[in-house]
Structures are given as C-alpha cells and as structure tokens.
Symmetry: C2
Subunit: 359 residues, 2 copies
C-alpha cells in the first residue's frame, strides 16, 4: 500500500476524529516515510479528516525529510518560532484530535492549553487497526529481517561463550545484525546464569562460566521493519533442572505457534503457552505475556496477552516467546516472529530452537 493509500484508509476510519496529530513513534513513518528524532524539538504531522496533511518539522531536520508532495506538505520551523502554536493553528476548528500514543507529555499539555475546547484521544484507536494488518510487502520485509536474524543465530553456534562477558557477546551480536543486512541493531540481551532470570537484563561485565545457560534475545531494524528472536545457549553442560524446564518450554512455544490461525483471539494463544507451562508446575515463573505485535515498531499491537480479545486476521505479525525464570538459578525463553496466513500461521524465524551447546 502506498503512503497515499494509507492516508486514505486512515481518513476513512477516523469517524468523529477531526485530525490525527503524530509525533515520535511509528505512526508517523507509516504515513510519511519519515521518523521523528527523539529530541526536544517538536516534529508533528497534522492529518485532518477534511483534507490536508502538514509535517511540522525543525528547520535543521527538514533536509532529512524525503518529500512526498502528494501525501503531505512540509512546514519547517526555525529556532525562535513556536512549533506548538503552528500545530495549534493547523488544528483550528477541530473538536476531537487523536494524538500519537508516544507523544511527549510536554507537547500534549501545551496543546491542551492552546485548544481548551478540543478533546484529545489516542491515535492508536485509529492507527492500530490499520498497522496490525500488514500487506504482502510488509510481511516480506519482516520475513527478510527474520532471515537476517536467523543467520546471526546460526553464527553464534560457532562462538566460544565461556570466558567472555555478556557485554562482549552483546556487541558481537549487534555487529553481526548489521553485517547481515540490518540498518541498525536495536537490542541484544545476553543474560548468563542467574541473570537469565531477569527477562530484560542489561548485558553486564559478568564473565560467562562453564555451566551457564545464556539467553540471547536480539533484533534490529531492516528497511524500517524489525526482527526479534531469542535462542538459548549453554556453555558446556546445563545446570541442574534446566533440561526438564527447557523441554516444557519447547512444547509450550510449539503449541502456541500451532494455535495461531485466523479467527482465534490473541488471548487464546497466550492461554495455550501458559497452560503447558502451568501444567508442568512452572506457572509462577512465566512472568510476562506470550508475545507482542511487530512491524515498524518492535512492540506494537496486537499483544498476545490475557485480556486481549482481538481476533487474529491474515497479515497480523507478532512474537511467540514464552519463558521460564527461576530467580537465583537461570532463565530461558524461545522466541519466533509469526505471521497469520489465510489458513494458519507462517513462522518468520527458522533457526533451530534446540538448546545450543557452545564452548
């Protein structure tokens, strides 16, 4: 779908929302191809339902914007201008404005003050429905990103882990992600031994020892779309109790992937993974949802979590990543990106999901 088609789709679904006001976050590149810098100078697309779309952008960043005059006009602002005033002017006469979910509070509060009669709602109420349903081109980019991440996973199987720090392995993964075609490496969690029990562990100077299980969870940006995969490594023999739990996790991940098909709910997929893990006695140690949508954002709708009744449709893409975390001992997670197809599910990661024994 072209940018212009996306804008037309948004306008068709805006209902009583008079305008979208989009800043940092992936809604902006979805409609414009342009990603705002995450800094204190305001960048904001004002997309009115009644026609007209204007990208308000700092003058010094305007050269970064690739123009699409059929989709939006560019309004650069200089350092002594008031960007909030410019946006408020573009929103004149609106009664209901949907603001980008990740927009900074400072800009929302200033806009509320300038437009006291305008009700602000969240842009995701309009954009999530559009962005969740990927077209074939988007799925192809996610497939390519997944394949690049899989090559990195494959290369890691030949590396020595013991004697190196988490941080060193993390840097290596980041370099490999870029070498394999990612534009940026966005994260590379490496969590060894007891650190593995912290799902979002920050790679540290801990030296990996023989007997450590190591969670490697990494991904990057690939022509705007994202990869995200987790594989498990062990230096030498795994710690006591690891193998039994890992077998449970393997089954949970496989069955959750197999449960994905058009027509089922997001939460039902979470229940499949959680049921397997709970039945084996590890329920208290699976402390996060089963997955998250992925696309222009690493985390986006749909979230695969209890309480989310979203019905899966072809073109939805998300992670399936159950984990088991035993505090003080070890942790484990297996993660693939999947796409809902017309009849079922396609995995976008294919590197072996077995526990990989390394030096």
């Amino acid at each position: 779908m072209s940018l212009a088609q996306r804008v037309a789709s948004a306008r068709a679904t805006m209902g009583d929302v008079d305008a979208l006001a989009l800043s940092v976050g992936a809604d902006l590149p979805y409609f414009t191809g342009y990603t705002a810098m995450h800094l204190e100078r305001l960048t904001m697309l004002v997309l009115r339902r009644d026609g007209g779309a204007t990208l308000v952008v700092p003058e010094l960043e305007a050269p970064r914007v690739v123009p699409h005059p059929d989709v939006f006009t560019i309004r650069p602002w200089s350092e002594t201008e008031d960007p909030v005033g410019i946006v408020a002017g573009l929103l004149a006469g609106t009664r209901r404005v949907a603001i980008g979910d990740q927009t900074w509070a400072t800009f929302l509060l200033q806009l509320q003050e300038r437009l006291p009669d305008t009700v602000f709602t969240l842009a995701s109420e309009i954009t999530a429905g559009l962005r969740m349903r990927k077209d074939a081109d988007e799925v192809a980019l996610l497939r390519a990103a997944g394949a690049a991440a899989d090559r990195v996973a494959g290369m890691l199987t030949a590396e020595r882990f013991s004697g190196r720090t988490e941080r060193q392995i993390s840097r290596l993964i980041a370099d490999l992600l870029v070498a394999e075609g990612h534009d940026t490496a966005d994260f590379a969690i490496v969590a060894a031994g007891p650190n593995g029990a912290s799902p979002h562990h920050e790679p540290s100077d801990r030296v990996i020892e023989t007997g450590d299980a190591v969670v490697c969870d990494f991904g990057g940006s690939y022509q705007g779309y994202h990869s995200d995969t987790t594989r498990m490594f062990v230096a030498g023999a795994p710690p006591e109790g690891f193998a039994e739990a890992f077998e449970v996790l393997r089954v949970a991940q496989d069955l959750a992937v197999a449960a994905v098909e058009p027509g089922v709910t997001a939460e039902s997929v979470d229940r499949v993974a959680r049921g397997v893990i709970a039945d084996a006695g590890y329920g208290d140690y699976f402390i996060h949802r089963t997955g998250h949508g992925i696309g222009l954002d690493v985390h986006e709708h749909p979230y695969i979590v209890e309480g989310n009744p979203t019905i899966l449709e072809p073109g939805m893409t998300f992670s399936i990543e159950p984990g088991i975390y035993l505090p003080g001992r070890f942790g484990m997670r297996i993660e693939d990106i999947v796409a809902v197809t017309d009849t079922g599910v396609e995995r976008l990661n294919h590197s072996p999901r077995d526990l990989v024994v390394v030096g």
Copy 2:
C-alpha cells in the same frame, strides 16, 4: 549529592505541586538511579511532597532496579494488572501533579481520565532547576566523558576517510567511543560533502571523496552522563569557500565560549556566536541555536538560544556548537561542552579544533 538529598531538594521546591510522576527520561534516574525502558509497559515514580516515593515497574523489569529503600519502595505490576490504576491510587488526594516531560501521551491521557480534578503540569518546572546545577561529582563525570570523546577525535585524525562510506566511519566512531570507556555510543553523525549542510544528517552509504569536508558529531553515555563533540575533517583539500567560512566559525565558537561566565544570560551567549557569523555574512546559514544543556540527558536545560533569559550559574554545563550550512555545498560545526565555574568557564573538550586534513 545522594539520591536522598536530591529527593529532599525536590520536595523543598515543589510549592503547591503535590506529587511528581516520572517515567521515561532522565528525571527518573536523577532521583532513583533507575532508567525506565522506552517501551509500552508503564514505569513511573510517584514522589509525593508529603512523603513517600514509589516506583511502579513492570514485574519482568523489576530485577533491573537497584533498590534504595531509603529513597523509594518498589511496586512491581504483573501483565494482567492495571499500572495506570496503581499510579492513580498513589496520586489519590492530589490536586496538582507534575508529570515527566517525556511521559507518553497515552499515560497522561489515562491519568487525566482517572483523576479528573487533578491539574497536570510539567515536572521540568521543578526538576530543571535542580538538574541544571551540577555538583562537583557530576561535572567530574562530564569531564571524563569529554576526555573519552576527545581521545576518539584524536584517533580519527589517523584514519583514511576517502573511499569509505559515512556509515562505515560512523560505525568506527561508535566502536571507539565504547573502547574509550563509554557504556554506550548514542550517536555518530558523519556528514560528507553536501550532506554536511544537513545538521542532523543520518549517516548514509555515500562514499567520501577527495575534497569532501566531513562533519563528525558524536557522543555516548559514560556512567550515566553524556559526551557530545563535533570536529571537522577534510579529505585532501577543502572545497572552495570552505576555509573562509571555517575561520569565521572558529572565531564565533571561541568568542561564545569566552562569553560564558556566571551572571550572564543563556541568550546573550547565543548572540555572541550569532553576531560573529552574521557580521561575516553567513547569518542565514546558522540555522540552529548555539547549544543545549547536557548531563543525564544529551539535551537538557539550559538551552543556549535567543529567548532564554536563564542566568548562568556555576555548575551549569552545556554545548557551544555554532555551525554554518550552505545547501548543496557543505556544512561545518565546532562543538565543545563547557562548564560554568565560579569565575568563568571550563571547556570539557580539548581536542584540537582546527580543520583536520585526512586521506
């Protein structure tokens, strides 16, 4: 100053603000030592003026938090809990809440809905005054970060630029920043030839050619504090007109640094740099402010810009980075971090500011 002393200072200056509500951004680590992940799960410190500080954090990220029980208590929330409800409960009875400037709009809108009688203002109205005035320990960290960045600038003088892409040089700089002691490399702008006229240029696959002037603007995080410096390189001989403009820029940067002392305003420093550049006929090509504060954030108060009457005080730290940008031809910028001292100014960058001729 300890975390507890910072919290005490905040309480002493809150006036009629009943609570601070801090999420992503550097206010949170300023008071807690903890940096929230920039993701969709809410992390928020509720710091009440009448006592009590609670860090609401996703359960799966709670192991990342280093506890400081004298400063705050930790309230992990699980995937099926409602974090906004938890925060709203902690804010019960407040009439005025100052929310972190970078907090996502989604959380502010939800809190406004739950607390319809509460007025929300910006946390920076309280925190900027505290964070702008660095103590000796903070300045020492910024000095160390600057020295590490200077070593990278020095190493670049021995590199061949021509024949390599902007992206390759950018990756090299990022690696050197980490090798020289930064915890992370946050940005490394490399803008060659006409790309230099885009101040926030994204490093591309453009191959650097003989005769290209190259803007290198880079920095990273060093024990929580930031470096940020810009040096100019040229592959072979500079393009026509470059040397004359560069001499103007050198003088503008020097005089602006020399103008820094306690008691003068932020905008007066901007005027010094701008005056020199305008007098030489390049006024229309200096399209950004002269500088920004730096500390736990790369960009923070005080901003060195027309319209900012903030009076400089000892302990304030910021960049002095005038530039000249000639569209289609070339661009240039020279940037140092400086600290206001009791009697004047200290530069925190010392690598040579001359145009560096490379291969």
